[in-house]
């Protein structure tokens, strides 16, 4: 092999067990990166063979055929067909689900005809055995013309054989699985005369899908396109013909190689489906599961979140006591540590939510959720597949927006992306928590339903209902000729593979920490500067009116309070005060609103700074007490009345206050137009809704 690390790529249908094999080979030795240009989740990892050779492995998104239907499938086409692509593999490993052979072999056969070095891995053979069916692997191998290796990632069997097969150079298939029909022979002859090294199948792909191959020399594409036209090679016709031919050959092979046991008419999946997709119980169970997940997120995450919180404040205190006082220590404690702590605190909730989502995906239940909700989603202009991004949005809009990629229809995908940030993400939770404890009495309805909990639930429902309503409106505004399509595999139910669940939790937490962490850290540092320094610190003239007296701010920390009022942040707050006064907000909330446009969770930190609680300590109780004690200037009325608190919560429910989400939306939609639309409509909605709330309540 060459001096460069050999590259292999895993290809296969969705649900074929590809990720399990990837995880079994690489363990934690993987990273998720982005493709330049279009960003699509790509996973790469490394593992070593027994001869010490390191191998780079790419896990490509699952796809049913080589022809891309959605954005995540496009990448498979790119990587496999573009020899210049950085991930273009030396060896292809096609994963074929033995319990679903017919459909899995279609993609496999197409990949084989690219005539690249290929190995076939057969997964789920245990399911075939359990069913009492039998599969002639030797015959399959002969028909496919490449090695076929059964692998069971659950039991770790077959991995050694796979590694051993990769030690030596792999040869392309010795035969063509599906030779092009005679009528295209003239095209192939003419094309191969110019490009003799490329397989007929590859040349035909170039000719019928020229738009996908921007990287090829223009003259090559024009030549092949003209040639295709001349010889009557048309994309849709060719695709239909070859799909039919391939299935015909696959059927012939399977007639000999696969002995299906048909005595088992009703299996576990049928029985479970009858319950889980029941017209009444199906929905009861769905709502029950969602409610249980929701409860679990908050109760399970509470412990690690408390740990993070007390850890951050202990560290801050220790640093303050150990390091010499000065702006450096101040920056480290109130800027950096507060910022990092604000990121780390959300990791438990995000990891737990994704743990549940992965379990639903792994067991096959997620497809049923889409199935149960497609009709409802469609009336709001969405698709059953929108459920996954919307549910992920409860943890964090960033991965949720990325999860919309598997929606093939552009309009439905766009609307899903546009409304997902209305789902109450975990960053809103600390804001809601502190405001609810300030303005909602800790009473019980009917003796056991907490009024505070009810308010929280109401805020989540507000987000969901608004997302649906906005989707409905958008679906009537955005026009498209593209037909909405819903074709979804309903995989068989199986127990989750815990290794995959844990790895996904780790992965999502890592993406969140890196993506959101960068922004929040930078914002915290900027905020620290803006709140610590003012115009007079850099020698600007400030009129006597702008200087504020200490009595504006409660508590005994007068010097710090005055410093804040006279800081840049304080001036900003005063400037926007007239605009936000009708919503019931004062200049201090104004500062928090400005800073939380970077990220919502900054709100609590800003409040902590504003109320000059012990530097950097984000202990919510103390901030809460200070906020509660705050009175309107010149009166003894509290600032945080029910009207102001509710208005503020409604504002946070709707406003687009997350730079990371805007950045992700720009990447996913490839334009600034849609994040701007999102920023304007959400913030407009927030302003109007808060205005109505405050004016009605006050």
């Amino acid at each position: 092999m060459g001096k460069q690390e050999p590259k292999i790529a895993l290809v296969g249908n969705p649900n074929c067990g590809k990720s399990s094999i990837f995880n079994a080979l690489t363990g934690l030795n993987q990273k998720i990166g982005n493709y330049p240009g279009v960003t699509v989740d790509k996973k790469t990892g490394h593992f070593s063979l027994d001869n010490g050779q390191f191998v780079k492995i790419t896990d490509l998104p699952g796809t049913y055929s080589i022809y891309p239907k959605s954005q995540d499938e496009e990448i498979v086409y790119d990587v496999l067909l573009d020899p210049q692509h950085p991930e273009h593999p030396d060896t292809l490993v096609v994963v074929v689900d033995a319990s679903n052979l017919k459909r899995n072999l279609l993609l496999c056969s197409q990949v084989l005809d690219l005539q690249m070095p290929t190995l076939v891995v057969l997964s789920m053979t245990d399911i075939v055995e359990r069913e009492g069916s039998s599969l002639d692997i030797a015959l399959l191998k002969e028909e496919l013309g490449v090695p076929v290796i059964p692998v069971n990632a659950r039991k770790q069997s077959g991995l050694q054989e796979l590694k051993r097969a990769l030690e030596n150079p792999v040869a392309p298939s010795s035969q063509v699985f599906c030779p092009a029909s005679k009528k295209y022979q003239s095209f192939i002859d003419a094309a191969q005369e110019v490009y003799p090294k490329e397989s007929p199948y590859l040349l035909m792909q170039y000719a019928i899908n020229p738009k996908s191959f921007h990287y090829l020399p223009a003259e090559k594409l024009t030549f092949l396109q003209a040639l295709a036209e001349q010889h009557g090679l048309k994309q849709s016709q060719f695709q239909a013909e070859e799909t039919l031919q391939r299935y015909q050959r696959i059927n012939r092979i399977l007639q000999q190689a696969l002995q299906l046991n048909t005595t088992l008419n009703e299996n576990l999946t049928d029985k479970l489906d009858r319950l889980l997709t029941h017209r009444f119980w199906g929905y009861v169970i769905l709502v029950g599961i969602l409610f249980a997940i929701f409860q679990a997120i908050f109760t399970l995450a509470a412990y690690p979140m408390d740990l993070v919180e007390s850890g951050t404040s202990l560290l801050s205190e220790w640093l303050l006591n150990t390091l010499p006082a000065g702006w450096g220590t101040d920056l480290l404690v109130n800027g950096v540590i507060a910022g990092v702590g604000g990121v780390v605190i959300f990791i438990p909730q995000i990891a737990i939510l994704f743990g549940f989502l992965t379990i639903m995906e792994e067991t096959g239940y997620m497809a049923r959720v889409s199935y149960l909700t497609d009709r409802l989603m469609r009336s709001a202009g969405l698709n059953g597949k929108s459920v996954i991004p919307l549910m992920s949005g409860l943890a964090c809009a960033i991965p949720a927006v990325m999860a919309a990629r598997n929606i093939g229809n552009w309009k439905e995908r766009l609307i899903t992306i546009l409304v997902t940030p209305l789902m109450s993400c975990s960053a809103r939770l600390p804001v809601y928590t502190i405001l609810i404890s300030l303005v909602i009495p800790n009473n019980y309805v009917l003796g056991f339903i907490s009024l505070q909990g009810l308010t929280l639930l109401g805020l989540y429902l507000l987000g969901l209902v608004t997302a649906m309503a906005v989707a409905f409106v958008l679906s009537r505004l955005i026009r498209t000729a593209e037909r909405s399509l819903f074709l979804l595999e309903m995989p068989i139910y199986r127990p989750p593979r815990w290794r995959n669940v844990l790895l996904t939790m780790y992965e999502k937490a890592k993406i969140f920490t890196l993506e959101a962490g960068k922004v929040i850290l930078v914002i915290s540092i900027i905020l620290w500067f803006l709140a610590s320094y003012g115009p007079q610190d850099i020698g600007w003239e400030v009129g006597p009116k702008a200087q504020t007296e200490a009595q504006d701010i409660p508590g005994q920390t007068t010097a710090e309070a005055v410093q804040l009022r006279n800081s840049f942040a304080g001036h900003f707050g005063k400037v926007i005060e007239p605009a936000i006064a009708p919503l019931g907000f004062d200049w201090k909330m104004g500062i928090a609103l400005i800073t939380s446009f970077a990220a919502r969770e900054v709100f609590v930190g800003t409040m902590a700074t504003i109320y000059s609680v012990e530097a950097g300590d984000e202990d919510v109780e103390t901030v809460r007490e200070r906020m509660q004690a705050d009175t309107k200037p010149g009166t003894d009325q509290p600032v945080y009345t029910l009207a102001t608190g509710l208005s503020l919560m409604v504002f946070f429910a709707f406003a687009m206050q997350c730079m990371s989400t805007l950045a992700i939306v720009r990447r996913e939609t490839k334009s600034w137009k849609w994040p701007m639309v999102q920023l304007v409509y959400m913030t407009g909605l927030a302003y109007v809704a808060s205005l109505i709330t405050y004016q009605l309540m006050a």
């Binding site: 679903n100 017919k102 799909t243 999946t269 049928d270 037909r483 819903f486 595999e489 995989p491």
Partner: protein, 84 residues
């Protein structure tokens, strides 16, 4: 077996009924259906309808697939193969 000229579509099947796919020419998404294993000549069984009557689940090519009623209306199936 020419009882009448009206053709039967996948959407006409009741849960548990089986047919053979005859023609996809009325489907705008024929290529997507075909790559999912819905090919002319293949047996297809209606498994269930979603609680709101739409989408539906079918068994085809050895697995379960769900699709919308509108798409099922466009898939012509062979009447003769109708067996409960």
């Amino acid at each position: 077996m020419n009882l009448n000229k009206q053709s039967v579509h996948l959407s006409d099947l009741k849960p548990g009924q089986k047919g053979i796919i005859k023609d996809l020419s009325a489907c705008p998404d024929a290529s997507a259906l075909m790559e999912m294993g819905c090919i002319p000549g293949e047996a297809i069984t209606m498994v269930a309808r979603a609680p709101l009557g739409d989408p539906i689940t079918v068994k085809v090519s050895g697995y379960r697939l769900s699709l919308r009623k509108q798409q099922a209306r466009e898939i012509a199936i062979q009447e003769a193969a109708l067996v409960s």
